[in-house]
């Protein structure tokens, strides 16, 4: 659904943040991990067309991002910003979520329908008339997810969706990702919560200093503790515990670890 070839990008001349990335994205749920400054947010802004590569090419659904405007790409790819305050500006939750579809020339009634469905999905259907700025950070984050979901794009990118979420909020985000993926959408997510990545993503891409250092099935990625360390990352807590207890396999969830420990040895 997305193909990028030898992509380079730098905010200042002579300082490339991304150094020749080549990647292909299919419908698998994909996590992008890496320390702050590794180039994750820059990469997704390039995919969304907000930045243009200084070298190389990006094709989104077969179209080269250089040949289209951000507005034209907006129908194909949605990006939820890391900080919801950068995204939210309307006076009610419903208006905020309808803003995207309306700008894509969806009829008002249909836009409202799409917005309400998206709000249902994030669990805020009863907050339509509330001013989003009166809500907490975790709810604002869910509103900003709903406003992208309402645009019904084939590709959805989430930048650190689990920030400020409690246990229930994280479960909700996991459900949203799963549901979108079942609808055939590509869900790509930047995350710092390794246990969340392990439990919910099929593919994981590890970035370090503007390069991809690992790109594989999540279980495979979290088997490489040494390479993750080099990228200043660690394996999930549950994986560490399994290793500590001498399990030969890489476990990704508490359920896997519990059943492995109950297994007669």
């Amino acid at each position: 659904m997305i193909k990028i070839q030898d992509v380079c990008f730098g905010y200042n001349e002579g300082q490339d943040v991304l150094q020749g990335l080549t990647l292909e994205f299919d419908q698998r749920t994909t996590a992008i991990i890496g320390q702050n400054g590794a180039g994750k947010t820059t990469l997704v802004k390039l995919l969304k067309g907000l930045l243009k590569p200084t070298g190389g090419d990006i094709w989104v659904a077969g179209v080269n991002s250089k040949d289209v405007t951000v507005a034209q790409l907006a129908g194909k790819i949605g990006l939820v910003f890391q900080n919801p305050n950068d995204q939210i500006f309307k006076r009610t939750v419903l208006e905020e979520v309808m803003f995207g579809p309306l700008n894509m020339k969806v009829e008002t009634a249909a836009a409202k329908q799409q917005a309400l469905q998206a709000l249902e999905m994030v669990g805020l259907a009863d907050q339509t008339d509330v001013n989003p700025h009166d809500l907490g950070l975790s709810e604002k984050k869910l509103i900003s997810i709903a406003s992208i979901v309402a645009m019904n794009t084939d590709i959805i990118i989430l930048d650190e969706p689990t920030i400020a979420q409690d246990a229930a909020g994280k479960r909700r985000i996991a459900q949203i990702i799963e549901q979108l993926s079942q609808e055939g959408k590509l869900v790509m997510t930047i995350l710092h919560d390794m246990d969340f990545v392990a439990a919910h993503f099929e593919r994981t891409i590890v970035m370090n200093r503007g390069k991809v250092v690992l790109d594989d099935k999540t279980r495979e990625v979290f088997s490489h503790q040494d390479l993750l360390r080099e990228a200043c990352l660690d394996t999930p807590y549950v994986t560490q515990l399994g290793k500590q207890w001498g399990l030969p396999e890489t476990v990704l969830t508490t359920e896997e670890l519990i059943s492995a420990m109950k297994r007669p040895r």
Partner: protein, 296 residues
């Protein structure tokens, strides 16, 4: 007398009907590291703001009971007086940085300038804060050129330089990568070693279990429990309060690995490993016994 004494604290925001804090009483001693846990809307942030006097002085609303820091009643004193004893670090360092200073060094001086601290004393305090938070290398950098972890540590340093007896941190690591949040947790630990009382609202239970002396579990504005991480995280009803115990605890609970006291479950990787080894030596001891029986 304890350093922090909260007695029957009740609070309601203006134009609301529900109590945001409902009859909270607790005490904390100098140098303690207290973790505040609970689901969103449990009252964590409101409680943090009550400790520094933003509740009720900034938000107004209905207030009952008392918060005393080192004997000073927060409600009876102004915020300007309270901040000499209690400092707060917000969730997002961007909301804390003044934006009026060109270097990290000057940013940390900001609070001290407003307290009217003498120049020599200021320099000593700033150097100490830079050292404690391990950001000496960035002292001449522009505040907004720092990474998230560095900026959050600068925000903490600017509060620490004011020499509070208590520092309150409201989810200080939620925006940080794993390395950045580990840096901040280590810095927080060194503060409590210096005798500063740390109050830390946080969702990262694995980190709290490793660093906190006691955990306050809040739910709907009420204090449900206030005890060691082992005791609070071993509660079987934790899920009812929307809190998940550390992964180590959940796994050990499911497979019946207890701590030696038999009442609680491991809350850290080290404890989980110790419980595993204890279990193994028990198994091998009992199987040796069995074998011994067979050969006799």
């Amino acid at each position: 007398m304890s350093l922090i004494e909260v007695e029957h604290l009740k609070y309601r925001y203006p134009a609301t009907e529900k109590l945001a804090l409902n009859d909270i009483s607790l005490t904390a001693e100098a140098g303690e590291l207290i973790g505040i846990v609970g689901k969103n809307t449990a009252g964590k942030t409101t409680f943090c703001q009550a400790l520094v006097g933003l509740v009720p002085h900034f938000y107004k609303g209905a207030y009952g009971g008392s918060v005393r820091i080192g004997g000073m009643d927060v409600k009876e004193s102004g915020v300007d007086e309270t901040i000499r004893k209690v400092g707060i670090v917000f969730q997002n360092p961007f909301t804390q940085v003044t934006g009026s200073k060109l270097t990290v060094y000057e940013e940390i001086a900001f609070g001290l300038e407003h307290l009217g601290i003498a120049r020599q004393d200021m320099m000593e305090r700033i150097d100490h804060a830079l050292h404690l938070l391990d950001i000496e290398a960035y002292k001449d950098r522009a505040p907004f050129d720092l990474s998230g972890g560095q900026m959050q540590r600068m925000a903490i340093a600017s509060v620490i330089a004011m020499r509070p007896q208590v520092i309150v941190l409201d989810e200080p690591t939620s925006q940080l990568d794993p390395q950045g949040s580990e840096e901040v947790f280590r810095a927080i630990q060194s503060l409590s070693r210096e005798g500063i009382t740390v109050i830390l609202a946080e969702h990262k239970m694995e980190k709290l279990a490793a660093y906190a002396d006691r955990i306050a579990l809040l739910h709907e504005g009420m204090l449900i429990d206030y005890d060691t991480p082992s005791r609070v995280f071993s509660r079987s009803d934790l899920a009812e309060y929307g809190v998940e115990a550390p992964i180590y605890t959940r796994v050990c609970q499911a497979i019946g690995f207890r701590m030696l006291d038999m009442d609680t479950y491991p809350v850290t990787l080290e404890e989980a490993q110790a419980a595993y080894e204890a279990q193994h030596s028990a198994i091998s001891a009992s199987s040796q016994e069995e074998q011994g029986g067979r050969y006799d």
